[in-house]
């Protein structure tokens, strides 16, 4: 899952990047509205963590601009979580009215932030249930655990995220470029066959029939007919 952090405080941006990366997210950080808009226009992000008081303007302006976007990028439906030190009720109402999906006041608990992020990602994927169930596979995004026929399966962070992306897009093919864009941030060095390697590992751990390849297009997990 790729997250864009829009935060002008270097310490908070660094802390968020480090912590979210440790939890398996691909994180990019921007310190200004202009840089954030450029990032949103060039890369697909699953979620935006937005600070309000930025050097070149108010984060609310970026939110408005995003919600009124007309082209494919940026996606106007990208979930946005406002994280700010403004704790007045009026600020929260105003932020949510601008189109934010959630609002968190600094300082916040990292686990709470991640829980809210997961809820937003789940909502964006059209799911209400916190667990992803596919046949005999049960994936818990919060606990980052995978059960196959009731047995736990150990997955590396990127493998887990890749599985999550494919499960959330069941029935739709995701190209290698799309998967790379959502698995890696700008700083990550991506090998030419990185996705193939992750898919190979997933097939080995979860069974050959789970992830299907559409040659020249990408990968997909078919819809579970029993569901």
């Amino acid at each position: 899952m790729r997250i864009l952090v829009v935060e002008d405080d270097a310490g908070i941006a660094l802390g968020l990047r480090t912590n979210l990366q440790q939890r398996g997210y691909a994180v990019d950080a921007c310190a200004s509205l202009a840089a954030a808009w450029t990032a949103l226009c060039t890369e697909p992000f699953d979620l935006v963590l937005l600070d309000l008081g930025l050097a070149d303007g108010d984060g609310g302006d970026l939110l408005l601009q995003l919600r009124h976007a007309r082209k494919a990028l940026p996606d106007p439906l990208t979930p946005v979580l406002i994280m700010t030190a403004r704790d007045q009720v009026a600020d929260r109402i105003s932020g949510l009215n601008l189109g934010a999906d959630d609002y968190l006041v600094k300082p916040f608990d990292l686990d709470e932030l991640e829980a809210r992020m997961r809820a937003l990602l789940r909502r964006a994927a059209g799911r209400a249930h916190p667990l992803l169930v596919h046949g005999e596979l049960v994936v818990d995004p919060a606990a980052r655990t995978v059960l196959r026929a009731g047995e736990g399966v150990e997955l590396a962070p990127r493998e887990f995220t890749l599985l999550l992306l494919l499960l959330e897009s069941r029935g739709r093919v995701l190209s290698r470029q799309q998967l790379e864009a959502r698995l890696y941030n700008w700083q990550d060095a991506v090998g030419s066959n990185a996705i193939e390697v992750h898919v190979h590992h997933l097939r080995r751990k979860l069974g050959e029939g789970l992830i299907q390849t559409m040659r020249g297009v990408g990968y997909f997990i078919p819809q579970d007919e029993r569901a």
């Binding site: 802390g15 480090t18 600094k106």
Partner: protein, 449 residues
């Protein structure tokens, strides 16, 4: 109404008491004057009656009076109450030697006296008081004395005085009730105003409505609304300040929490070092905010007004700027001072230094490297001024460097400067920057008279 409010003095009650007391006083005066007038007039009437009877008798060629046993009793006249106005007159006629020529009525025989005119005589046994009038005829051969009982005269006086005073007795309570109602009704606008004032809530930005049209209330309503406005503005300022302080403290605390969380996970040695350094920097930043808050609290103390002294603005600016030499060199800024020599103001040295340090701090922290920062001072019609200008620009500056320009970060420092200026009776504002600067913040202080 609570028992406490019942015990409290009431303007309505006070007004009622005063009006009733005044009414009672006026009524008592009226009754007293009426009584006295009644008594006086009754005496006059009686005397007039005595004199006219004497004159009448004197000019008659009197036949001998009838025996007392054959005298006709007074006739009952129904329209006169108890014969009050028909006194029992006695007549005594004497010759020049005092011999009684004729006598009528039940008055005891009065001693002979040559003297004519009115007299009060005690006659009979036991003695009773009589009012008499004596008059001689033109030849001084015959004297006529007419007498009436003094208590009859007094009864008449009481009756007349009572008739005069009686309407007042009935009117007093009626007037008092009417006055009470009038006062209660008349004070209703005041009670409504009082109720509205009691129901005002500062937090809800309320105002006294224009439903108090009486001009006597104009100044009160205006003053209360002005006070409410000031109070609301003050609350809003405090809210903004609290919000800014919260922001200033929450940002480094959030960063510290995030770095601490990341240190619990797997980190490369370099990342670990970076997280630790960031924690240190954030802790220092939070400490700086607390120092600023303390300074703000000190700047709000009113007794600082009494510790003012003459200060050379140039010396103050040079001293502050000299203290930033190392910091500006490290951050790549150029600092300078400029202004007229010997310009003095009346100020509190520590507070003015604190204000100037805040402005220089802001300029250093919120402008990119190579920015030129100048502390200037001078005077104009508004007073003596001290300003910090910089030529910092955001054009072409990388995002990371822009990060420290956030306007929210300026808030607390500027609040402190504003408070310091309030203590000095001056003001603080951003002014249009003169060339080649792009930003200028000016403190204006009163000139020494």
């Amino acid at each position: 109404m609570t028992p406490a409010s019942l015990r409290q003095a009431s303007l309505t009650r006070r007004l009622l008491l005063w009006v009733l007391a005044a009414l009672l006083l006026v009524w008592a005066g009226f009754a007293a004057v009426g009584w006295r007038t009644g008594v006086h007039e009754a005496g006059e009437l009686t005397d007039g009656q005595l004199a006219s009877t004497a004159a009448l008798m004197l000019n008659l060629d009197l036949p001998p009076f009838v025996e007392a046993s054959r005298e006709t009793a007074r006739a009952v006249i129904p329209s006169l109450k108890n014969h009050d106005y028909q006194p029992s007159l006695s007549v005594l006629v004497r010759d020049a030697g005092g011999r009684v020529l004729a006598r009528s009525g039940d008055a005891p025989l009065a001693p002979f006296s040559e003297q004519a005119g009115f007299a009060d005589l005690a006659l009979g046994t036991p003695p009773a008081l009589w009012r008499s009038f004596s008059q001689w005829d033109a030849t001084h051969a015959r004297q006529v004395m007419v007498l009436v009982r003094a208590d009859e005269r007094d009864e008449l006086a009481s009756d007349v005085a009572g008739q005069l005073a009686e309407p007042g007795l009935w009117l007093l309570p009626a007037v008092a009730i009417a006055l009470c109602i009038a006062i209660w009704r008349g004070l209703r606008p005041l009670q409504a105003l009082s109720r509205d004032v009691a129901e005002l809530e500062v937090d809800k930005a309320e105002r006294l409505q224009a439903r108090h049209p009486y001009r006597e209330f104009n100044s009160v309503v205006r003053s209360i609304n002005t006070l409410m406005g000031q109070q609301q503005a003050s609350l809003e300022r405090e809210r903004q300040l609290a919000s800014e302080v919260a922001h200033e403290l929450r940002t480094p605390l959030s960063s510290i929490a995030l770095q601490a969380a990341s240190l619990r996970g797997e980190l490369s040695p370099a990342a670990r070092e970076q997280a630790l350094a960031q924690i240190g920097a954030d802790a220092m930043r939070a400490g700086h905010v607390i120092t600023q808050l303390l300074a703000l609290a000190r700047a709000s103390r009113s007794d600082l007004q009494q510790q003012m002294q003459r200060l050379d603005l140039g010396a103050l600016a040079s001293q502050v700027v000299a203290g930033y030499a190392q910091a500006s060199w490290e951050s790549g800024h150029t600092l300078s001072v400029q202004g007229e020599d010997g310009l003095e103001v009346l100020g509190h040295p520590l507070l003015l230094e604190l204000a100037l340090r805040n402005l220089v701090d802001n300029a250093l922290q919120h402008t990119p490297r190579s920015t030129f920062i100048c502390v200037q001072w001078g005077r104009d019609a508004a007073g003596a001024w001290l300003q910090v200008c910089d030529d910092g620009t955001t054009a072409g500056v990388a995002g990371e460097e822009l990060a420290s320009h956030s306007p929210e970060r300026l808030g607390l420092g500027h609040k402190i400067v504003s408070r310091v200026m309030d203590v000095h009776g001056g003001h603080f504002a951003q002014i249009p920057a003169p060339m080649p600067f792009t930003r200028c913040y000016r403190m204006v202080l009163p000139l020494i008279p």
